[in-house]
Symmetry: C2
Subunit: 405 residues, 2 copies
DNA sequence: GCGGATTAAATCACGCCATGAATTAAGCCG
DNA sequence: CGGCTTAATTCATGGCGTGATTTAATCCGC
């Protein structure tokens, strides 16, 4: 049942080498066999052998050749974007979004369902997801058998045990067996993860985190979360709940937080907290436009400017904590509120972080903004099945199970 | 030069399997081949083959057999404690300690040199280390060629680049090439690391952290540091300075810290800070006895009790931050001050951590005290060459270089 | 337009590996 | 002292990566 990743046999060696080649190619296309041999350390002979298999399977295709001056031209290789398709689902606080991508992560179809805050029941969300799945398949003309898997990003903690359980505080979900519930409506491989983590992975693969081994993607919306990347992959901790940056304490005995504690970072720099600290009416009927208005007002209102100054101070301290503890190469700030704040306050945030972090690790860390838009949650969710394809884990096995089941 | 860890060839596969067997055996001795086959997943045939090599090399020896009722008895295997020896060095703030162990980590010799705070120059420390090395070799009768390597735990950040550099704030060291300097006096393999990290590794291997995949070892002395273990090994970050727990901000705009920032955890729960916060004269001419006296006084003095209550509060908040960010299985509290405080305050610390951490990850985390004494820094440093032996990296290569040089 | 030079890629022979099956070793028990 | 049982080794087999060799595909100079 459990796809125990075996090691130790000579066959696993091949799978690993194959995986190394696929990863290398996926993030640097197109490339020649020679080039792959150099960067992976595998011999040209092995690259040839493995690539032949990959071409036979249709994962890799030849893509023209590069001119030479006096020798056989190098044939360029790339991942076949149409070898398979992946679906990413973003279960957000106000909507369920489903997107279908090819392997080059080009969007091929999209479906969007608003989610009434009063009806965040599991069954409603499951319905939306399955409806969206059917819609993107129909809309793109992609057959179900061509889909490698479905990634789902959800709010709350996702416990990756023998049965995947979702604990979503904001949704009132407690130990919801989302995978099992979705299984009733689809037999595609499912990958469920926390939305902040999928968004972090999207930034890591395609955004501001490209190439980083150690990074933290901080997400500021109404609340505050983070995705922590160590050694090139997302840190989950012992029960998959790592990355709760928003509830680290930056002020012992400070403002009370909706989590029940006090002095949490989220109680100062979350959008809700910022607006609450300002304490006056602002134009805009939602948090997003209200925060934009507050930032606008800071040019003329001392009170607004003061709130933003404080926000930069606390946020800088929170970032400094990440730098001191993790020593990352990069801190990437995102989320809708993070981007709004970052555009205006990034210099102030950097300065506050500098003051609160140790000199040496701070000097080695760059603080940047996310490069991908709010769709990054779905995009990141869609990378989950791709990750399995590149690793050579389960993908084909699950496919077999599926056709056998 | 650089011992690039190769992968991909069928030979590396053998090295990996060998390593798996060695690790498995090292932490669960003695065991039969059968047992090893079961727990590692390797076939009995492979275990036999690899073990034969290991016995030929002298790393593993047979150690009796287990009675059977009606079958050939299982032969028990264990690591040969005398296959080689390792040296651990603890460069502390007030002394240099050098210890020699066999592979079972039984201490075979020890040398101790006080370090005058006025003479913490690099040359003095190097002299002490080399003198201690000579002393433990002489004292144990172990020949230099039988030593697998020397681990050195130092205060400050250790940058593991092409040349190992030590940045020690308390010692006034800036980019000190300690390895190169020691190399002038010995040709043994050297492994240099931060003292908090070596101590963390000692607790992970032999103390309160045994078996944990994710843990944080928090060390409280005059200052505050930590060793963060993720996926079973120490997290170093991009420039090896990760784990600076003491300088995370628990109180924006709070007490100023010797690092130049303010509101650092260390400015509240470091021994120096605690004594400073109490602000009255205490019996005892050093921090250690003064802190003990303060804890003693808390039984009768409301002011002393108040200081300790506050300490537990801040420390609990700091621990909660670790829990929220890392979601570890265990938090292990150590350092001389950490142990003093922990003995009295552990319930209060746990309660403060509970209040500041999210419910779910807190419930999955145990908060304990270190089990090893203050010698753990040297012990942990000595595990560094053992780690290389178990991994099959460099050890033999370095040995060859040595005899060739 | 054609051979030689040049570089890329595929093929081949070899050595090494893990493994299931078969075999040998080493003890119990009646 | 033979069966019986279990541990450990040995053997034959199929895979694998690799350096050396061969084939493929281009350019260049004449």
């Amino acid at each position: 049942m459990m796809a125990e990743r075996r090691r130790g046999t000579v066959r696993d060696l091949r799978r690993d080498n194959r995986s190394v080649l696929l990863w290398s190619l996926y993030f640097d296309q197109p490339r020649s066999r020679q080039d792959l041999s150099r960067t992976t350390g595998l011999s040209p002979a092995s690259v040839s052998n493995v690539v032949r298999d990959l071409i036979d399977e249709g994962i890799v295709i030849e893509a023209g050749s590069v001119d030479s001056d006096g020798g056989r031209p190098r044939v360029l290789l790339r991942i076949n974007p149409d070898h398979g398709y992946v679906v990413g689902v973003d279960v957000g606080e106000t909507r369920v979004r489903v997107e279908l991508f090819d392997l080059a992560m080009t969007e091929r179809a999209k479906a969007d369902y608003p989610l009434d805050p009063r009806e965040r029941g599991v069954d409603v969300v499951v319905d939306r997801i399955l409806a969206g799945l059917a819609a993107v398949l129909a809309g793109s003309g992609v057959g179900s058998s061509a889909v490698l898997g479905v990634g789902v990003g959800v709010p709350g903690v996702v416990e990756q045990g023998p049965e995947v359980l979702v604990h979503g505080q904001t949704f009132g979900w407690d130990a919801v067996p989302l995978e099992r519930l979705l299984r009733a409506g689809t037999d595609l491989p499912l990958h469920i993860d926390n939305g902040a983590k999928t968004m972090g992975q999207a930034e890591l693969w395609f955004g501001a985190g490209r190439g980083a081994q150690h990074a933290v993607v901080g997400l500021i919306g109404s609340g505050v979360g983070a995705s922590i990347i160590t050694r090139g992959s997302t840190h989950r901790g012992s029960t998959s709940s790592a990355g709760e940056w928003g509830h680290t304490t930056v002020m012992v005995g400070g403002r009370s937080c909706r989590c029940g504690s006090s002095g949490c970072l989220e109680a100062y720099v979350g959008a809700e907290a910022i607006l609450d600290r300002y304490g006056r009416a602002l134009p805009g009927d939602d948090q997003e436009s209200a925060l934009a208005a507050l930032i606008e007002a800071a040019a003329t209102s001392a009170a607004a400017a003061e709130v933003l100054d404080q926000t930069a101070l606390y946020l800088g301290a929170g970032i400094a904590d990440l730098i001191n503890l993790f020593n990352p190469e990069r801190i990437i700030l995102g989320g809708w509120a993070g981007l709004l704040l970052g555009e205006k306050l990034l210099p102030a945030i950097r300065e506050a972080a500098r003051r609160h972090a140790l000199r040496h690790p701070f000097a080695e860390t760059s603080i940047e903004l996310c490069r991908l838009g709010p769709d990054a949650v779905a995009l990141g969710a869609a990378t989950l099945p791709v990750e399995h394809l590149l690793n050579g884990t389960a993908a084909s096995a699950t496919r077999q199970n599926r056709s056998a089941g």
